[in-house]
């Protein structure tokens, strides 16, 4: 789960960069950038949850 979370963080960043490079007009660029950040939030949530699970298993 942790690895998937970090991969989502990277993928979200890649989405944001792709939006900057490939999209010229404001609306689609903004939409894709926000979608990229949304993917990153999902990734961060997964990483956080994976650490919670790991800690509970240790306890």
């Amino acid at each position: 789960m942790k690895l998937v979370g970090f991969l989502l963080l990277l993928s979200g960043w890649a989405l944001v960069l792709s939006a900057v490079i490939l999209l010229g007009s404001a609306l689609p660029r903004t939409a894709f950038m926000l979608a990229g950040v949304g993917v990153q939030v999902l990734g961060l949530t997964l990483v956080v949850r994976s650490h919670l699970v790991l800690r509970r298993e240790k306890d």
Binding site: W13, V16, V20, T30, R55
Partner: protein
């Protein structure tokens, strides 16, 4: 890549900049004192020694390797071409910073400021790993921060890298702008602190079997609050020097920068004090101190580009965010961060970066030296928030995985957490062999009648 000319400073700006740079160590001293005061008394000497050691490691590693990757505008760098636009991704300076004239040139002032700044970034994770992070591991982790993570991201922001050039290349405002290091120093340090707390795990006894956290209060609030006052002086220097060197701020901006820095810190501390007063019946000293430093952190990115009223708003939001995120991290996410470093530096730093996109305005001449100040003379302020958002996405998508990965690998070869016996004894006795407060030790002969 063909370098742009190195921007020159007028004598007044250079002298002012030198003065500001020499104030920056006060910020390091302030954070070190705050970290120590928020930890346990049995780890106090260890905490201060660790601060000295990581500052030393950071300075040496940065000057030998780090500056080679970071560089500055006008110095050699590597770029790749993507859809016809140059993406400047790393500097190409020789090791030992041999490529710059150290006689007071702009690049040499950048080297000096960065040597202190990377030390400041390195002190941030120490607070998060307090009472359980081995000294040797902290130094090795700092070497990775100063040699790899910090300089690469700082090149993108301050060294003429692709983030700074988002305005010139893609029309996103003036490119990613960060005058005082809200992202490069604070958020990078804060995200490293988050990685360290994940890798180390919470202190023994912090969480019950049911997952409820126990309060482990800091041992000396006086150290913490005095550290806040020292940090204010250092932040004046940090914001002033950064604004002059990286955004081309003229000397007339210095007063505005100092006023904004003070206002953001003040409003953040007051917000934290008011929130804790309302919720707990009395203002909480450590959370108010966290609010103060959070306000300083949030002021950094936008210090030269906002008026005093937005600076107060930035501080109020930072103080509120810091107060709630400290509790949220501890209570709901089981992140044991004794000094609140993640909330203060990562959360407030990211807020400060985004606040520049929301409230910033850019007076003529167009600023952002790192992005090529002459390349975007007519750029409007619209789109600035998008450039800032790209910077935040880079922090989350590049810096966090990188710093976590490096520390994870380090932990595989050299366990970073002290053994259980070390935590029980305290880091002072276990790692150093002597405590910070020897008069606290009671001997039976002290109580015998003479």
């Amino acid at each position: 890549m063909t370098p742009m000319p190195v921007p020159a400073l007028y004598e007044t700006s250079a002298a002012l900049c030198m003065f500001f740079i020499l104030l920056v160590p006060f910020a390091i001293a302030g954070l070190s004192l705050a970290n120590t005061g928020l930890g346990r008394s049995r780890s106090a000497a260890h905490s201060m020694l660790a601060s000295l050691c990581v500052i030393a490691v950071a300075a040496v590693v940065y000057v030998i390797f780090g500056f080679s990757w970071q560089g500055f505008v006008g110095l050699p760098s590597h770029a790749i071409i993507v859809t016809g636009k140059p993406w400047n991704w790393i500097a190409a300076e020789p090791f030992f910073s041999r490529g710059i004239d150290r006689g007071g040139t702009t690049a040499s002032l950048v080297l000096l400021l960065q040597m202190f700044s990377v030390g400041l970034a390195a002190v941030i994770p120490l607070g998060a790993g307090a009472d359980r992070w081995r000294l040797g591991a902290a130094c090795t982790s700092t070497a990775l921060l100063a040699g790899i993570t910090y300089p690469i991201f700082a090149h993108w922001v301050w060294g003429g890298g692709w983030l700074a050039q988002l305005g010139a290349n893609y029309g996103l405002g003036h490119g990613f702008v960060d005058a005082g290091g809200g992202s490069t120093i604070q958020a990078v340090g804060g995200l490293t602190a988050l990685s360290i707390t994940w890798i180390l795990g919470p202190r023994r006894g912090k969480y019950s079997a049911e997952g409820m956290p126990a309060a482990i209060p800091g041992h000396n609030p006086v150290l913490v609050l005095f550290g806040c006052l020292l940090a204010l002086v250092g932040w004046m220097g940090l914001n002033g020097a950064g604004a002059i060197l990286f955004t081309g701020a003229e000397p007339r901006f210095v007063v505005l920068i100092a006023v904004n820095t003070m206002l953001a810190a003040s409003s953040a501390a007051l917000a934290a004090a008011a929130i804790t007063r309302i919720r707990f019946g009395k203002p909480d000293a450590s959370l108010s101190a966290n609010g103060w430093v959070g306000g300083l952190v949030a002021s950094s990115a936008a210090c030269a580009f906002v008026d005093p009223v937005p600076a107060i708003v930035i501080g109020l939001v930072a103080g509120t965010l810091v107060t709630f995120s400290v509790e949220w991290l501890e209570l709901h996410l089981a992140v044991d961060d004794p000094s609140g470093a993640i909330s203060v530096h990562a959360v407030a730093g990211i807020w400060g970066v985004m606040a520049l996109g929301l409230f910033g305005h850019f007076p003529a001449p167009v600023l952002n030296v790192a992005g090529g100040q002459l390349s975007v003379p007519n750029a409007g302020d619209t789109g600035q928030w998008m450039a800032q958002l790209v910077g935040v996405a880079t922090l989350l998508g590049f810096v966090l995985p990188l710093t976590y990965g490096l520390n994870w690998v380090l932990n595989r070869f050299y366990p970073q957490r002290v053994p259980a016996e070390g935590e029980r004894q305290g880091m002072d006795l276990y790692d150093l062999g002597a405590g910070a407060y020897p008069e606290f030790v009671t001997h039976t002969d002290d109580f015998t009648q003479r």
